[in-house]
Symmetry: C2
Subunit: 311 residues, 2 copies
């Protein structure tokens, strides 16, 4: 009888670890350092050691453990093969097999954004839906797609990489990916700041926003205070993101969009600008999709990893 | 031991039927009329009768038949529930259960575009791939998406309805769906004619194309003959479709795009305009996706329906 599982979120500097019961309650939560030297050869042994220690500390019988789920920062195919995780120094190998050999427990690995989406479906803002798109608005724009309860992995592990959908022609600055006009260039925290600085160039309209010295949070705070210039910027943001999400809905026809990441702390006002620009252009079959906020924050990864191995 | 199955493609005027062996060879192929009167109440009984007659004609034992697959012209969820098929007069009911009750054979129904995509994967232009997007350029733009061998159905049965992705702002004419600026308005046969007529308005450049009197085929024939105006139109078409497909790749990260429908008879030259506009804007993980032409034509539906029930 399985009673426990581990959810692990592997980042470039820390590895978040969670011990769960099979209902999804967190029994313990801790972090270890990510040792990336020598091609990240210590990462999996460190995780194995941490799991073994926790099993021993908690007096858990190993056969009560359903397994270990992992979110890793890079493309992972449905068999657990990673295709280079630059942040960890990893090359190409099968994570499931390698960690299983160290621990003698079932292991399931997935891309961290997809795994986090699974977490939001299971215990976060996406509860009650089994087909959803989780959009993470942070420094960049990330995404994870769940269809009928399963992660959309993609042929080369890049399913749900929605930050690099082309949404604007004629963008002079390059995106981090090398293209021009990606969604991430307008809807991330840095994207909103870019939109703000562009709007504030030679601006003579009254506003609390200061060119070259405003954050995404400043923009949203000003929107909430009724600042007309900030509202224009929010409209632009909403048009890029709302139309981008409408295109995504035209492809996968989800039940819900769950918006997370630092930028989403602006809350419902942000959703309102997205929905307003989404509805007029989306195909009618997806017009009544739900827009909600993510609720698990940085814990989405460990929850999703646990769910991944529980199946 | 199952040796046979039936693939059925239900259209608004005719129902295409195929008897297959389980390897996917067509043993017989025929059509019956679609009787849409009285809410389409005769459609499933007519199909059941046609199947029973064929079984009897061919001296097949019923327990050698794996089942009957169906493509229907409207949204179908993964359990076989149709949500109104306007062309058939159907309301909301479970097709799988209803036809199973008439025939005592396993039945699996799917949306016709998704089912046709499954056919192209199995025996058509998508052979060798299990994650692909089939794009049908006809009077409208249809689509079907297969991920890891399974149809992407969508929450309300509208997965892969890519013709209504918003690709242009400021379009004055409405799309059939009521929105403005849908992909279908530029990349379908009628869309290409619209692009042509707009380009030919007040045109003084030399061209064989005549405003108000050219078909999509005329445009592509002129492109092949080196007509500079036609080439401009093909560039516009390629930009709308190429960028649209790049957005789709950013969502589902497929192995291949398979282009079918009447417009695709233009052949490789059409693919070249699409690929050329796709590559600069797509996320690098999907840059090397394959572009191929559909090969099954109007038979894609019966092949896909057979594959659907074979699993």
């Amino acid at each position: 009888m399985k009673k426990y599982c581990f959810g692990v979120d592997v980042g470039g500097t820390t590895i978040k670890m969670g011990l769960f019961d099979t209902e999804g309650n967190v029994l313990d939560k801790w972090e270890i350092k990510t040792r990336t030297e020598n091609g990240g050869e210590n990462v999996l042994p460190d995780i194995a050691k941490a799991v073994e220690e926790k099993i021993s500390e908690k007096n858990i019988a190993k056969d009560e453990v359903a397994g270990v789920g992992l979110g890793v920062p890079g493309p992972v195919d449905s068999k657990g093969i990673v295709h280079r995780c630059v942040n960890l120094g990893w090359d190409v190998f099968n994570v499931n097999e390698k960690l299983n050999a160290l621990l003698d427990l079932p292991v399931m690995a997935g891309n961290d954004a997809n795994v986090a989406a699974l977490g939001e479906m299971w215990k976060g803002g996406g509860q009650g839906y089994d087909s959803l798109v989780v959009v993470t608005l942070g420094t960049g724009v990330g995404g994870g797609i769940i269809l009928e309860g399963k992660m959309l992995t993609g042929a080369t592990g890049a399913g749900g990489e929605i930050g690099h959908i082309h949404v604007a022609d004629g963008e002079p600055e390059p995106c981090g990916c090398g293209n021009h006009g990606c969604l991430e260039q307008y809807a991330s925290a840095t994207g909103i700041v870019r939109l703000a600085n562009r709007r504030l160039e030679n601006n003579t309209d009254p506003t609390v926003l200061v060119k070259g010295n405003c954050s995404a949070k400043d923009v949203w705070d000003a929107v909430k205070a009724g600042d007309a210039v900030a509202i224009e910027i929010a409209e632009q943001f909403g048009k890029y993101l709302g139309e981008g999400l409408a295109a995504i809905a035209g492809v996968v026809n989800p039940e819900a969009f769950v918006i997370g990441g630092g930028v989403s702390k602006a809350g419902d006002v942000l959703l309102s600008y997205v929905e307003k620009n989404y509805k007029p252009v989306v195909f009618h079959a997806s017009r009544d999709v739900k827009f909600t906020l993510a609720t698990l924050g940085n814990d989405a990864g460990i929850f999703g990893a646990a769910k991944l191995v529980l199946g």
